[in-house]
């Protein structure tokens, strides 16, 4: 079962521990907030990913089953931006 990293941007305070522990998948933007690589976590990095999740002081990082709507949040919004707005789950206004 492949899992993907999921970030809670409200909880994230930009500590940056995750990027140090998992530089293959997480980098920091110019404001210190993490940018996650999309897609599932490769099998070889799973252990390191779990360690990064445990190390977050704000408990903002989590591993979710890839392909579920949860982990696909950032992918979905990124593709929304590229291809123009699309009818995703009602988030902004209903």
């Amino acid at each position: 079962m492949s899992r993907a990293l999921r970030l809670n941007p409200v909880a994230c305070a930009g500590h940056g521990a995750c990027a140090e522990l998992l530089p293959e998948l997480i980098s920091l933007d110019e404001w210190g907030y993490p940018v996650l690589a999309p897609g599932p976590v490769p099998a070889g990095l799973a252990r390191r990913a779990r360690r990064a999740v445990a190390a977050c002081p704000a408990l903002a990082l989590a591993m979710a089953t890839a392909g579920s709507a949860d982990s696909a949040h950032s992918e979905k919004t990124q593709s929304q931006d590229r291809a123009g707005p699309s009818a995703g789950p009602a988030r902004l206004r209903t």
Partner: protein, 435 residues
Amino acid sequence: MTVTSPAGPVPPGLSARPPGPALPRLLPPGGRPGGLAGHLAVLGPLPYRGGPGRLIADVAASGLTGRGGAAFPVARKLAAVAAGRRPVVVGNGAESEPLSGKDAALLRAAPHLVLDGLQLAAEAVGACRAILAVHPGGYAGGALTGALAQRQAAGLDRVPVELAEATGGFLTGQETALVSALNGGLGRPAFTPPRVSERGVGGHPTLVQNVETLSHLALIARYGAAWFRSVGTGAEPGSMLATAWQADGRAAVTEATLGTPLGRLLDLRGPVQAVLVGGYHGTWLPAGQAAGLALSNASLHPAGAAAGAGVLAALPAGRCGLAETARVTRYLALASSGQCGPCLNGLPRIAAGLAELAGARPRPTVIHDLERWAGLTSGRGACHHPDGTVRFVRSALVTFAAETAAHAAGWCTAPGAAPFLLVPADQTAASGGRR
């Protein structure tokens, strides 16, 4: 025996009725005077189906999508919430988009239609609690409370309706922000999961639907899915309310079928330079391009736009598109709830950069900074506020490229022009509570 009317099969349990109204459906001219009695005289009794879940099939057949901006299939939402325990239904009339006036118009002119829809939705999901959230001042001088009192007296409402007044911030109409405010919280958007359809008001599964969507629901329950589909396109059936701002500054709420050419809603013959489609989270399009498009996602998506909540604004020539965009972006930056790092950092920088771009002699690096910040901000918040703002800004940079070049060269096509787009004076971010 199925009873058929000219508009298609009539839902079971109802005798043959006169065919449902052609356009306009939601806001007939002259309204439906006579309060509740007048409403029922024209539309007939409130067609309760006698149990949860029965309306959902009709809604699915009708293809009704949400009219609050995201166009999510209503039947899917109903089904998701109906599956939960003790759900709550919320009618979203907060209308926090400054350019939109359709929800206010609906609540003023056809409150009983909205309230019918609220009751039917509550029955469909099995809710025992219903809340109607309105814009500040949206109690409309007691008109809504009066309407509710009439329904109470007539014993029409099976679920008691609570009225709630949203605060005026731009994000207060956002689904999770609204639920947070109804729960007595700060009214700021929340990270999902859990979605409000799983855990919302009071921790219960919550259905949040725009008041226009509920109005369509009330009519579909009476006239059936086939009637709803009799206008519009195959993929996007039905009609929607649009708020159209003309180049002379006048605005009107019109009902249009999906697929109506934009040229019929906006007067694009005069000196119009650009059209804003979709409000402040929407897309700027050159007037010429907009004239060839229609009010449907099938037509607008390839152009990078979306119908959204039906907000259309024509920017006349003689205004500076960059200055307008900069003013609005400043408002959008202030509207950020400041919870997510990328949004809190990115939007103010984008706003300041746009202000410089719209001013005299911007530095040549500003455009590159704007592009970088846009890329870093979009898609990285808990809600779609940063995404929508970036879409708005990027489309402005494309549509007003000539103006950008002029500013870089040191002149503006419309220096000192009066502001055109409406930006509320009270620019505090979304903040709490329910009154």
